[in-house]
Amino acid sequence: MEPPRSSGVGIDNSGEYSPEIAETLRFEEEIQSLIHPSSFDGSAAPTGGGSFTALLGLPANQAVELLHDSGAREPLASRIRVGGHPVHRPFHLPLDCSSAFPSNATLVDRAARFSVFAAEGSPASSSGRLKAEPQDSDSPPLDPIPTGPAKRKDTGRSKCDVRLSLSFKSQAKATAKKSKNAEENTDGDKLPYVHVRARRGQATDNHSLAERARREKINVRMKLLQELVPGCSKITGTALVLDEIINHVQTLQRQVEFLSMRLAAVNPRIDFSSLDSYLSAECGPVTVRNGPGGVVVDPSLWPTDATAEATRRLLVPQFWHIDLVPPQLQPQQSLTTWERDGAAHSQLLPNPTTSLFLYDPANSGNANVPHLTAKLKTAEDRALNL
């Protein structure tokens, strides 16, 4: 994925790029030159247009080199690379720029401006980097520099390229597998959105970007699933985790079947009609509150507190009714007999329910009803807030 390199790229490209980028490049080069002073060759470079170099505020050599490089490389934004990676171009120009600068003030201005620019460079140009960088970094480090002025550079290249290529290769992972690991290292903590910072040596064309984003999404969801399924957090490896999840789902479905069989067998006697009416009266406000939420009630919260309580109480409705009715405590045995006799309780039913309904609006300060309502409401709140 190399950008087309023209060998004879000369100073003709001076007009091709915007001065700002060039100046940024120049700033960048200066930073890098500070980093790698030793790798510079002192070979002289052919002078470029005097006015141009003066404009850039650079020594002629560096300006010419900039011209060549920026002209040769298509993505100019690739040069804006802020961070710990050294630019893989040889700097064989001496630091002491002895050429006369026509306007020191403008240079200072530019430096100040570009310091800000460079500082912002990483977030601002990250999207540019996505496209730009890999075309740079995918290409092996030795190739990219055009050969026109390359003679000058080759000598310098030999020294710094060795070191730079080493660091380069250690990071430039061109294969898909390695890039996946690499991206998981760096991008694991990023937000699951398209703005993924491409690591060095990774392809950043649209397909790879989309694939990487997709892989990130899949990994996030797999982690969610792992947390849901008990015993999955320790397992490493996608296949085993998936296996565990499938097992869990099958287990749950089998449990539903089994429990439904038990329910059918065990409870032909319990009458739920009274429960129904009571429930709807009771939990009307609760359901209304849930409606506009549009949030799927987190089911994991419910059964622990409210449902267990609710079903237990409601399956033994006579307790409710007894409690609501003026406080006469009836012995439990009569209640259980009520529970057991399917036929007998039909007589009792209308009384408790009517008294219940009478009680509900009238006596809200009662013990049980507000208790359960409160429980349901708190569970509801918790579920909604989740």
């Binding site: 429990l259 439904s260 409870n267 419910w302």
Partner: protein
């Protein structure tokens, strides 16, 4: 939410034919009710709940297919990964989703399933507990 729906459905199932039906028939009805309540309480926003309700409501023998504008995207799954295929079969509506959507729906499905199981377990427990008090 699920508790209310489920109890209501249970009462319906019970009232419809406590004496006339065999327990296995009732068990099937209860199972259908359980899944229906689960899907209904999960909401229409979930693909699995919609698919589940559709499966439940579509009674066998109803051959009349209305030309509805159903966007059933049959994505060519590829089917390379047997685990993925198995997951698709397990999760209702899983045949048409993309992989990451499948994982998301599977997570929600597992959550709701677990809750439903707990609910039913609680009901069975309290029922048997009440019956064994004496």
């Amino acid at each position: 939410m699920v508790a209310l729906r489920f109890l209501r459905a249970l009462s319906l199932v019970r009232c419809s034919g406590p004496g006339a039906r065999s327990p296995s028939y009732r068990a099937r009805g209860i199972r259908r009710a359980a899944y229906a309540c689960m899907a209904a309480s999960a909401g229409p926003r979930r693909a699995w709940s919609r698919a589940l309700l559709r499966k439940i409501r579509r009674r066998p023998g109803r051959g009349l297919r209305r030309p509805r504008a159903v966007i059933r995207r049959r994505r060519p799954v590829g089917g390379g990964d047997p685990l993925e295929v198995a997951l698709r079969r397990l999760v209702p509506g899983g045949g048409c989703m993309e992989y990451c959507r499948l994982l998301e729906e599977a997570a929600d499905y597992v959550k709701c399933l677990a809750m439903q199981v707990r609910l039913m377990q609680t009901i069975v427990d309290s029922a048997s507990h009440v019956n064994s008090i004496d």
